[in-house]
Structures are given as C-alpha cells and as structure tokens.
C-alpha cells in the first residue's frame, strides 16, 4: 500500500512536467506581444523592450522553458502581471475556497447521488426509479451555470433567503454547491443505479436469496459494498468535472477560489497566472485520484489482500 502510494505520488512531478510543457507551448502560440501586456496601457516601446529583456522573453524558447521549469522547482511560477510577481502565494490563499466548494459538492454528491442511485436501482422500473431517473435525465441536460442563475434568481433575488455571492457564511456555499454538484449527483445516481442493477443480477445475490435473505438485507449486507467499489471510481473520474465546473460557478457566484482567479487572469491575459492555476488544477486532480485509489483499495478486499 505504501509502495503504491509513493509510486503514485512520484508520478505527479512527471505528469506536471508534461502539463507544464504543453501549457508553455500553448501559451507561447498566443498572438500578441507578451511584454506589452505586462507593460500595460501607457508603456513606451523602450519600456516594453526593457520588460522583454527583464522577463527573458528575448531568449530562445528552449531556454525560456528551462528557466520556467527551474523557477517552478523553486516555487517561482513566473511573473504575473496581475500580482506583479510570483503568483503562488496568491493562488495558495485562494485554494481553501475552491477546496471548500469542491469538497462540499463531493459530499453532497455522496450523500444524495449514491442513495438515490441505490433506491432507483433497487426499485427498477417502479415509481421511485422513474422519479429519480427522470430527474437525472433532466439534471444532466441543464448547464450548471444556468442552474446557478436560476437558483440565484429564485432564492436570492425573489425570495432573498440565500446569499448569492462571496464567501461570508456557510449559507454562501449553498447555491454554488448545488449548481456545481447537480450534474455530478445526476451522473453518480445514474451510474450507481446501473451498478446496483448489474450487481443484483450477479450470482452472489442469487446465493443470498437462496439463503433466505430478504431484498433489504441483501441490499444492505451484500450489494452495498460491491456497489461502492465502482461508484468511488466514478466519483474520482468526475473530480475533473468538479474542478472544471468550479471555474464557471465561482465566476457566477463570486466565490473567491482559484477558478474565478483563472478567469480574471484570462481577461487580462495574465498567462503566467493561467498556467500556474491550470497546473494547480492538474495536481489537485491527481491528488484526488490518488485519494480515490486509496479508498478503492480500502473498500476492495481483492486489492487489499492481493
């Protein structure tokens, strides 16, 4: 287990390196003059040239990339025009907000999505299933940002019972969490339903019935754990959706996380910041997946007792 963990963690820098390279090349292909974005609106050509030299933008690409990597290794993400320097501390200060949002979305997904899927799967083609499956189909079609807008329109603007912006109280989490997790809840419910139906067809369930167990007992003591194994994987795979979705939702709800910061960075063409945040997203995604793998191993005896 420990070896597995170490190996997975060791793979992070490798992947990070690849992502850094891809982003580096991507953003080097942006039209326009990087130095003049940095210099600002009223800079003269001489000033822009000075900045170009100061930031090493006059060097050949490979050298720029090596400097970039060397900087990253020392925790220097480069020159962000927004923060006039290394954006890392500012990004770090915003991570907790994104973490809170995504964690509460995952929590809500687990608390609603999995039970809903189990209820639907266990009552296949009966009314609870129809209600849940219908909701799932609906939720999967609705854009999360629009759902957020509707929630704001209803609960903040019309009813005035929920704050619609910022991160002031635990209530502030409600709308962004709902908007962010709705699709994931639907996905997880739907997949869980499928897994439950599939598991219920398996021979060990037939054995349990042959033992004289009732449907409820079979569901709880036999099927549940087998259902959780694939479900955990699904949630892990969807972590990317969650992190990505947070970008849009944070902007909509003025939630002060790194997704919101990323959009700000894009609107001012602060590509240093965009790259840094994307890298943070990637590392976050990998960490979540390592966590999920650990959990997966924890639930699945086949992997625990190889």
């Amino acid at each position: 287990m420990l070896r597995f963990l170490l190996r997975r963690i060791a793979s992070i820098p490798l992947v990070a390196f690849g992502v850094v390279l891809i982003l580096f090349l991507l953003f080097k292909s942006v039209p326009g003059d990087e130095a003049s974005f940095v210099a600002g609106a009223t800079a003269t050509q001489a000033e822009i040239d000075a900045i170009r030299i100061a930031l090493g933008l006059d060097r050949p690409l490979p050298e720029q990339f090596i400097r970039h990597i060397a900087g990253l290794l020392q925790g220097d993400f480069g020159y962000s025009t927004t923060f006039r320097g290394n954006p890392l501390p500012h990004i770090l200060s915003r991570i907790p907000a994104t973490l809170a949002l995504t964690a509460s979305a995952i929590l809500l997904t687990i608390v609603i999505g999995i039970p809903a899927g189990i209820i639907a799967g266990a009552n296949r083609n009966r009314w609870p299933d129809l209600v849940i499956s219908f909701s799932v189909v609906g939720l999967l079609a609705v854009p999360n940002f629009w759902l957020g807008m509707v929630l704001i329109a209803v609960f903040s603007v019309s009813l005035g019972i929920l704050p619609s912006f910022g991160a002031d109280s635990i209530l502030s989490l409600v709308i962004p969490t709902l908007a962010l997790s709705a699709r994931l809840i639907a996905l997880v419910a739907r997949m869980t339903r499928g897994v439950v139906i599939e598991e219920l067809r398996k021979n060990y369930v037939r054995t349990a019935r042959a033992k004289g167990l009732g449907s409820h007992a079979i569901l709880v003591s036999h099927v549940l754990r087998n259902v959780l194994i694939p479900t955990v994987t699904i949630i892990g795979l969807q972590a990317g959706y969650l992190l990505g979705g947070s970008v849009v939702i944070e902007r909509l709800c003025a939630w002060p996380g790194i997704g919101d910061l990323m959009l700000t960075a894009i609107s001012v063409r602060d590509y240093t910041l965009v790259q840094a945040i994307t890298l943070i997203f990637v590392i976050g995604f990998m960490l979540i997946n390592i966590g999920v793998d650990l959990l997966y191993r924890f639930i699945n005896p086949r992997l625990r007792y190889g």
Binding site: G32, D33, S36, F37, A39, G40, A41, T42, A43, T44, Q45, E47, T81, T82, F83, R84, G85, H90, S93, R94, P96, A97, L99, A100, A103, S104, I106, L107, I110, V111, I152, S156, V157, G160, P163, S164, F165, G166, A167, D168, S169, I170, S172, R251, L252, C253, A254, P256, D260, L261, T264, I266, S267, V268, R269, D270, L295, F298, I299
Partner: protein, 533 residues
C-alpha cells in the same frame, strides 16, 4: 457500516477545515463601526506606483483612504490642500512651492516630512518603478527640500497641471520606511501611508480590510473599519446591498437603478463622469481620412437614444471632445442623429449602395473592423452592437471583434503597420481632472505616426493648429488664455471628427441610508473618506 460513517465524517471534516477563516466569519463582525463596500473591481495591488488598470479603480478607492496626498480634489474637482497647508505656482509655471502640514506621521509611526515627500516624488519620477502615468510625472525635473516642511518642485517646461498631478492618485505619499522594509515588490501587499485608515488585512483580488488610524492628523475617521469586497456580478452586488451584507456598492448597472431607488433603505448616488466614450477612427485608412465619411459615421449613430434608453438616462450625448464637468470644457456642438444626411455625405464622398446594401466606392465595400473590449467601458459590447446596427442602416458594415480587456490596449496602441482596426472603442478618464491633459493625451500629434502612438492618439490625428493650441493651454501664464486656447482646440477637434462620439456615462453608486458621507467623484471613484456609520 462503521467504515462508511467514518468516511462521511472525514469528508465533512475536510470540507469544514477547508473553509478559509474569512469564509466562516459571520455577519456579526460587520456590526457597529464597520462599513462594507462591495466593489465591482478587485484590488490587486496597493502601490500608487502601479497604474493597475487591471484593478482600476478599486485600488485607487482604497488608496484614497490609506494614503493622503499633498493636494486633493474637492467634490467639484477643484484642487484643495491635503497634506500641504498651502501651495503656490510660480509665474512661469515651472516651480511649485509647497508648505507641509507639520506633525503628520505615517501608520508605521515614521514622520511625514519634506524628505519623505521628496522620496515619494522621486520615486514616481523613476520610470522603472512608475511605469504608468508617465505624462503626469515626466515634466517634473527636480525636488528640493529647503526645510522639513517645505518642498519645492521644479519642471523642465511650464506645467500648469502640476497641482493636478499632485492631487492625482499616483501622488499618494507612502512611507519610505515601509518601502525599505517590504521592498519595491512587497510594498504593494503591505502598504503604509498617512491616510485616515490603515491596513488590517489584505487578500488581493478578494478582500481588503482597513481600520481607523488612531494617529490621523485629521482626527478620528467616520468608521472603525472599512472592508472592501470584490463582487464582480452586478446582480450579486445589488442583492448584497439590499440584504445588508454590504453597505455601499459601486457601478450600479443603470438598468437596476430604478429598482434600488424604490428601496427606502437605500440611497442612489450618481455623478456625471469625466470620461467621454467614443470610437477612435483609424485615420491611416484612406477611406476614413475623408472627413465626410467620418461625419457620416457620427450622424448615423443614435447617440441620444443610446444615452436615454440603453443607459436609462444615466448618460449624456457629449457636446464636446471633453466631458461636461472637465475643467476647461466648452460646448462646441450638438450630436445629431440624421441617417439621411449621413447617406448624403457618403454619396458626396463617392459611395453608392452595392448589391448587399453596403456602400461601395471603386468596387471596394465600406466594411470596417470595429474593435471593442469586453467589460472595460459601460455596456461596451452592447454599444458596439448598436453602432454596428446603426451603421448598417446607412450602408456601412462594421464587423465587431471583442477583445479581453487585458489585451485590448495592445491592439489599440500598435505601430501603424499592425493596426488591425478601423474603429476602436475608447474612453479616457482624465484622473487629474485637467481638460488640457485630456485633449493632449488624445489629440496631440504623435512624434512618429508610423510607430506606436505617444499617448492615446491611436487614430493618428494630426492638426498642427490643435498642437499649438494645446501647448498654449498648458503654458500660457494667464488662466483665461489657457482656457481660450483649450476652447478653440475643442472646436477644431469636434469639426474634424477623429472619433465617433458616443456618450458620457454617469457614475452610479448606492449606499444604505445608515451610511452617510459617501461621495462619487466625476473621475469614477467612489470615496469613503467622509463616510460615517
């Protein structure tokens, strides 16, 4: 089961632990004595040397409280002393002698004396540190400190606007000790000034908390604490105000003003701005170098309707290249919406409608590239869409390209060969309130029209008479002469129509009635210096 409960609990704990301290802070804290201001722009840096267009004007508004300046603008943009007790310009407009208020200290306890002021002015003169606002500071050639409370500033040429510069946001006086302590890079996050409020907490881009500075020379300010919160969404800003989560908001979208006005707890504060919005016309294009075409474009756009309908009356159609409240403004014309006349002018210029309704001359369709930033000016994209629609009516095609605001300036300020636009939306905010500064920035001919524009004459307008008049407006010893020159310049520019004039927006903020003393300045800023709760 136990394992499941454990997992759930662990996830819950993780989520709670992940909430930042600021997130969990309840409303309770914003009780008595705290004013919370929901800003439409974020504060990223608090160094006056940073032009920070990215966070403009959020940072300036905080700077007004953190830092005092030698001079200040009053509500009508008249220059009044602040840290200076008095000031005097010499006859030749090349020297300004300032007598400092004595006994003033910075938040860090160090004295604000002539040396500190000299340090500040020299810092702003340093091109490596102050990369923006150059036209405000470049004329200054030296600073002398005859004694602890006297500062003498000299300029290389007559510079009537020097007091405006000192009253400008970049004229904020910062603590030299703090600069030394935090370094040029660190100061932006740890600002120390001599204003009525000092820094308590700062998370750039999100929230800034200032607390009353006990040692302020002007006495205790109106609130114990002022919190600046960045709320990008207008709708969320407004709901924050109506629910009382914040006390003041800025940039109230005009369509929402009537809604707020109906709320008994809320007061709407509005003030015409100093920034006329228009489209810079690329005069290097042969088609657009023809004045009749430019006049036709101006005639084709229903500017009065835009001001009244799109901006709900919280805007006006300009009557001069300068905004109404700018110092030196003179009403030089009236914007007429007359598409028939526009068409006639086009016909005079040799254009005839082509097959698709777009006018042509010598087989070339009159199709213009209209560049517009997103989110930089009020209703920028919507206005561009209206202009495009209106021009279509007279047979001129305007294809819109919208650019992220951060990259916009780069498109605007290109050398001649790289100019991709024919029309580009622009609005200049003369943050030192000087009409001369305004016109000079926009219409003074460039040293080299092939290179990048010197300031904001991106359309390459070139009229020697205007250059002459603007020079006079800066250097003529008598104020009356200066104003006359400025007036004539406005006449000429208006007639030449180097821009498509659009509208002058009002700056609209709103405050809960529990807070008083909130003012909106013509230069966009909402100031809380005199705010009380």
């Amino acid at each position: 089961m136990q394992r499941r409960q454990f997992l759930t609990a662990a996830a819950g704990a993780a989520a709670l632990a992940a909430l930042p301290a600021t997130t969990l802070r309840a409303f309770a804290q914003s009780g008595s004595g705290t004013i919370t201001y929901g800003q439409s722009t974020s504060i990223l840096t608090l160094d006056p040397a940073h032009g920070a267009f990215t966070g403009y004007p959020g940072g300036y508004e905080a700077a007004l409280l953190l830092f005092d300046r030698l001079l200040d603008f009053d509500a009508d943009m008249k220059i009044v002393p602040q840290l200076a007790q008095s000031y005097e310009m010499s006859e030749d407009l090349q020297t300004c002698t300032i007598s400092l208020r004595s006994g003033v200290t910075f938040h860090d306890g160090t004295p604000l004396d002539a040396a500190a002021v000299k340090f500040n002015i020299e810092r702003m003169m340093n091109k490596d540190i102050n990369t923006t606002n150059r036209p405000l500071w470049d004329p200054i050639s030296g600073v002398e400190t005859p004694d602890d409370t006297t500062v003498v500033i000299t300029t290389s040429a007559p510079f009537a606007q020097l007091p405006n510069t000192l009253a400008h946001g970049s004229g904020a006086i910062v603590s030299p000790a703090a600069i030394e302590k935090f370094g040029e890079d660190g100061f932006a996050q740890n600002p120390v000034g001599a204003g009525p409020y000092e820094l308590e907490a700062f998370s750039p881009g999100q929230e800034l908390t200032l607390k009353a500075f006990a040692g302020y020379w002007g006495g205790k300010p109106g609130a114990d604490r002022i919190v600046f919160k960045f709320i990008a969404e207008p709708a969320t800003r407004i709901s924050a105000l109506t629910t009382g989560a914040v006390d003041i908001i800025d940039s109230v979208p005009v369509q929402l003003v009537s809604q707020l006005a109906g709320n008994a707890d809320i007061e709407v504060i509005n003030r015409p701005g100093l920034r006329p919005i228009g489209l810079i016309i690329n005069l290097t294009r042969p088609t657009l170098s023809e004045v009749k075409v430019r006049q036709a474009l101006n005639l084709a756009v229903p500017v009065v309707t835009i001001a009244e309908k799109v901006f709900f009356g919280y805007a006006q159609a300009p009557d001069s290249p300068l905004a109404f409240d700018a110092i030196g403004h003179k009403s030089v014309g009236e914007l007429v919406y007359d598409q028939e006349k526009a068409k006639a002018l086009l016909a005079e210029a040799g254009y005839a409608p082509g097959a698709d309704g777009i006018v042509e001359k010598d087989g070339a369709r009159l199709s213009l590239a209209l560049y517009v930033p997103e989110g930089l000016f009020p209703g920028d994209v919507a206005v561009a869409e209206i202009v495009s629609g209106a021009l279509k009516q007279i047979g001129v095609e305007a294809v819109i390209t919208k650019i992220e605001k951060g990259a916009y300036w780069d498109y605007l300020r290109q050398d001649k060969a790289s100019m991709v636009w024919d029309l580009a939306m622009f609005g200049f905010n003369p943050s030192n309130a000087s009409g001369t500064y305004h016109l000079a920035s926009l219409f003074k001919s460039n040293a080299d029209d092939n290179g990048k524009p010197d300031v904001w004459n991106a359309g390459r307008y070139n009229n020697p008479r205007v250059d002459e008049l603007l020079n006079l407006a800066d250097t003529a010893p008598a104020e009356a002469d200066r104003l006359a020159a400025l007036g004539e310049a406005q006449d000429i520019i208006w007639a030449d129509a180097p821009h498509v004039w659009l509208q002058v927006n009002e700056n609209v903020s709103a405050a809960r009635k529990s807070v008083s003393g909130v003012a909106v300045m013509p230069i966009v800023f909402t100031t809380l210096r005199d705010a009380k709760i």
